[in-house]
Every structure is written in structure tokens, then in C-alpha cells.
Amino acid sequence: MKVPLSKIAHTRSGDKGDTCNIGVIAYDPRHYPVLVREVTAERVKRHFGALVAGEVERYELPNLGALNFLLHQALGGGGTVSLRTDAQGKTFGAALLALEIEMPAEV
């Protein structure tokens, strides 16, 4: 069954220079394996398209049922250099909530 990521996770995003980080947190820790399988660095990169010029890295925090993504060259130069409305990536986490993921029937 296809569902948006918002069904099972919440997010928070922010900046470090021109890198945006997105924390993706499972509401229910039992859904963490679904996040690990479905929300890959490649899919996150594809989701943001031209907004993210660089690579996407993923880190795992099983203790928090969470993943952390680093989106490099994602903020138009970042901070004070960027010409974007969301120069600090504050809303990138919300954008990721629309990602469609496959929910296995058993969970």
C-alpha cells in the first residue's frame, strides 16, 4: 500500500552553511525499519530535484527511530548568500512528508 511519509513520520530540518539537514522520525518506533527501507538517500535526492545540487547522505539513529539526511549544496549558497525564501531549509522537512512510501501490509 502506498502512503505519504507523513502517515508514519514527522520531520525537522535546518541548515549548516549550504547543507540542509532533515531529521525523519517514526511516530511509532516499530515503523523505523520501514523508514530505513523506503526513505533512501537516492529517493530523497530525487524528491527535491533541482533544489539540491549536491549529494545526499543518510545516517541512522535506531535508538530514536530516526534517520538524519544531509543535503549538500541545497540552499543556494546558504545563510546570507542565498537568494531563496527558505535560505535555511526550515521547510525542507515538511516537503519530504509528501514522499510516497510503500507500507507493508503486516505493519
Binding site: 541548515d15 522520525i25 539513529l61 530514536l64 537568494l83
Partner: protein, 444 residues
């Protein structure tokens, strides 16, 4: 157990927050974080114009406002409000709140020492791009080393009511009282990592007590009176995160997890001047209403280098807007963007970047935004940046004419031409920590 509250997540945060933290219940320490990456350069410019300035000017009046209460309740304040002029900041605190003892931490400002460092062969390459600092030497506006919790703890050891620092890390403000009260040593890696993560959880103020929280945000109570976070720290390193009972907001594992992930890099290697903290070792437990217990944290030794926060002038920018209304608002805004770009080309102006957003359609989320076929209105938002201030200034004259000489239905030009702003960019680099010697002095 000691209670450490955070009443300011950045310079410009809610003015009432620290006052309420002191008045609404028991706390032992009040940490106030005033400095973002670019704040130092703004303060440096202010000090160049007036040698008595260069610090967070909201801070001394705040201390005057809470001076009586912090003495009655024996609350100590720790703040990085000193910016590039912590001594002047401390003197102003004493002037506005006579009788308070203020300890100042200095030594983080390395702006006057950059040439000495370059002569020693430190290249201070940018941690993102790898470029050596020499490439921007002439354009540097400020340079500070991030300092950790130990110099702040030494300042608390003087018995001061208020500790004023310059560029201390945000997390050090919370960790310092633990080092001071529990006698933690640089080799107590796990405890220092615990206090550092406590600092990370509270350093953005209400962002851990319900602010900016996605989880069931409509039901978070009384956000108009949101409580700022309080850490109840134990000598073994474990701690609880909570808030004053009568204050609004919420503290649970959802709000704390969101803040733990905020501005996080590699979770196993959260590097500070005090230790390296491992976020994958954190254990969180909901421990009653508005209370989360945090334990199990592991850490490693502090790095041999300190991070420098350097700001430099990097050209000019301007961002202008026009609003187009239905019907076909987006199509009109796109046509107007095409006209502006063609006219800029015709003028042979050079920019590093021209960037266009359609506010109401894709400004925040780009191509990841859901489709919106025919919105009732769209704001065209065009920004340019470049080294030539004249070119940027010329751009600011190219939007308003479109009201009469472009696609139909343009409005929203009441603000006039957009301002041209200097870009102050940020550079981070590493320096051997033995080059930095901090000092504590007391102002009364």
C-alpha cells in the same frame, strides 16, 4: 540535582521568555544564547563605528529587569551576549544593574591575530570548500574561536551573578553549570557528552517545548504563553527535560526528538570543544507530564583543534517582488520574469546568480511542491547577487516598470525599490586549540 533553563534561542527571540523562567518557578541557572553565525560580523561592524558597542544590546536591559529576582532566588545567568566586546557588555550590565558581580570570558576573538596565524603556516582552509583563508584575507570582518564549557565554568567559580562570554558554543552555556557544580573533568567523556546533548536539546529555546513542532501541533496548549525548556541535571550525567508547570507548550519524546535532530550532522560524531558526543547512544523515556528523561549517553575525547567562525564581505544582493493576480497569475509572473531577464541582458549587467521564485506556488519546495494549476495570486520574487554593487542597484529599478509595461494584473509594489544589501558570508576553519588562551575577569 541542578536546574538549568534556556531563555533565548537566538538574538531576537521572545523577550518575555527569560523573565518568566525566573518568575514562574525554581531554576538555578539561566542560559541565554544570542549568537548565530553571522551575528558576529554585525557586531564587529558596530564596534568599528563605536568602540563601546559590539555586543547583544538587549542583554543589559534584560539583566536590569530581572536583577532583583535573580538575587532573591540565587539564579546565575550564563550568556554569550558579549559578542565581539564582552567587557563593554559586562560594564553596561553593571551600570544598569549596580551591585551585580559579572564575570567576563575573553580570548575567543582572534581577529587581531589572523596574520600571526597565517605567518605560522596555519592555512585555515574553509571546512566546506577547502579553500585557504588567504584567498579572502582582505575581506574578513570578524574571526572568533568557539570556546567550550570549561572557561565558562571557571567564570562561574568566581561566584559571579552573571557570566558574559563572546563566541562560546551554544551547548557550553548549559554544560558549564554542570562542570562547575559537579566538578566534571576533561576526561569525563560520557558526562560531558550528556551535558552537551542537554545543551543541544535546549539551545533553541521553545523549539523543544512545542514550538515548530509538527506532531499534533493544533493541540499543543497555550502557545501564547509557551514555557522555555529546563534541564534537571544529575551528577551522573543523566537529566530530565521539562518546563514550568503553569507555562504553555509541551515536552514529550516527540518534541525532544525533533530538536535532537535539528541541525545535526553525523550523529556519532557531534564535535564540540569539550567532547565528541554520540547521538546514537541517547536513551529517551517519557517520565510523566511534560517530562522526558535522557540517559545512557556516551562520548569521546575533545578534538585537538578549535573551530573558527569567520565572517567576510562577499558582494551585494537585492531581492524584489511583484504580485500577479488571477486569472493565469503564474503564467503572467513567468512572462514578467522573462522580460526582466531579457532587459538585464540588454543592459550587459553581470551577476553571480539570478534566482526566481513564484511565491504561492514553489518558493519553499521548488519542484517538490504539489501542483497548483491556477492560484488566485502569485508573487514573483527575483533576486540577484554579484560583486558589482552598481549592477545590483540597477536591477532594483527593473521590477516596478513592469506594472505598466509588462503582463496585466501586477500589483503589490507599494514598498518601492528593494534595498541593496552587502553579503556577509561565513567561513569555518580549524586551529590548534593551544593557540587559544581564555581569561576570566570580574567586573563589579
Amino acid at each position: 540535582m541542578i536546574r538549568i533553563a534556556n531563555g533565548q534561542g537566538f538574538w531576537g527571540d521572545w523577550l518575555e521568555a527569560p523573565v518568566r523562567l525566573v518568575e514562574q518557578g525554581p531554576i538555578d541557572y539561566l542560559a541565554l544564547d544570542y549568537l548565530a553565525e553571522v551575528t558576529m560580523s554585525i557586531l564587529q561592524k558596530q564596534r568599528q563605528e563605536n568602540p563601546q558597542l559590539g555586543y547583544a544590546r538587549d542583554f543589559p536591559p534584560l539583566i536590569a529587569r530581572i536583577a532583583r529576582k535573580i538575587r532573591e532566588r540565587d539564579v546565575k545567568v550564563i550568556a554569550n551576549a558579549g559578542g565581539v566586546n564582552p567587557v563593554a557588555c559586562a560594564r553596561e550590565v553593571v551600570r544598569l544593574a549596580p551591585g551585580l558581580k559579572v564575570a567576563v570570558v575573553t580570548g575567543d576573538d582572534v581577529y587581531p591575530r589572523l596574520d600571526e596565524f597565517l605567518a605560522k603556516g596555519y592555512e585555515m582552509r574553509d571546512m566546506d570548500t577547502g579553500e585557504p583563508l588567504a584567498a579572502i584575507r582582505a575581506r574578513i570582518l570578524s574571526a572568533n574561536a568557539y570556546i567550550g564549557a570549561f572557561p565558562l565554568a571557571e567564570a562561574l567559580d568566581t561566584g559571579a551573578h552573571v557570566v558574559v562570554a563572546g563566541r562560546s558554543t551554544d551547548t557550553a552555556l548549559t554544560l558549564a553549570p554542570m562542570v562547575h557544580r559537579f566538578g566534571w573533568q576533561p576526561g569525563d567523556y560520557d558526562k560531558l557528552a550528556s551535558g552537551t546533548i542537554a545543551g543541544h536539546i535546549v539551545e533553541c529555546g521553545a523549539q523543544t517545548t512545542g514550538g515548530n513542532c509538527q506532531v499534533d501541533w493544533q493541540s499543543i496548549p497555550d502557545m501564547a504563553n509557551v514555557g522555555y525548556p529546563i534541564v534537571e541535571a544529575e551528577p551522573d550525567g543523566s537529566f530530565c527535560v521539562t518546563k514550568h508547570k503553569q507555562a504553555g507548550g509541551r515536552v514529550d519524546s516527540h518534541t525532544v526528538k525533533e530538536q535532537l535532530l535539528y541541525e545535526l550532522g553525523d550523529p556519532k560524531n557531534y564535535i564540540t570543544p569539550d567532547c565528541v558526543a554520540d547521538f546514537t547512544s541517547i536513551r529517551l523515556d517519557d517520565a510523566g507530564p511534560d517530562r522526558v528523561r535522557v540517559s545512557g549517553i556516551r562520548g569521546g575525547p575533545r578534538p585537538p583543534t578549535l573551530k573558527l567562525s569567520i565572517s567576510y564581505a562577499n558582494g551585494w544582493k537585492a531581492i524584489g517582488t511583484l504580485v500577479y493576480s488571477w486569472p493565469r497569475a503564474l503564467e503572467k509572473a513567468r512572462a514578467a520574469d522573462g522580460i526582466v531577464r531579457e532587459r538585464l541582458r540588454g543592459l550587459r549587467l553581470e551577476f553571480d546568480e539570478i534566482y526566481t521564485e513564484y511565491f504561492g506556488v514553489n518558493a519553499c519546495h521548488g519542484s517538490a511542491a504539489p501542483p497548483n494549476a491556477d492560484p488566485p495570486e502569485v508573487q514573483l520574487r527575483i533576486g540577484v547577487r554579484g560583486a558589482d554593487k552598481k549592477a545590483v542597484d540597477r536591477f532594483t529599478r527593473e521590477l516596478i516598470p513592469l506594472v505598466l509595461n509588462g503582463p496585466p494584473g501586477a500589483t503589490g509594489f507599494g514598498e518601492g525599490r528593494p534595498p541593496v544589501r552587502e553579503i556577509v558570508a561565513y567561513w569555518s576553519a580549524l586551529l590548534p586549540r593551544e593557540e587559544i588562551a581564555t581569561r576570566v575577569e570580574v567586573v563589579e
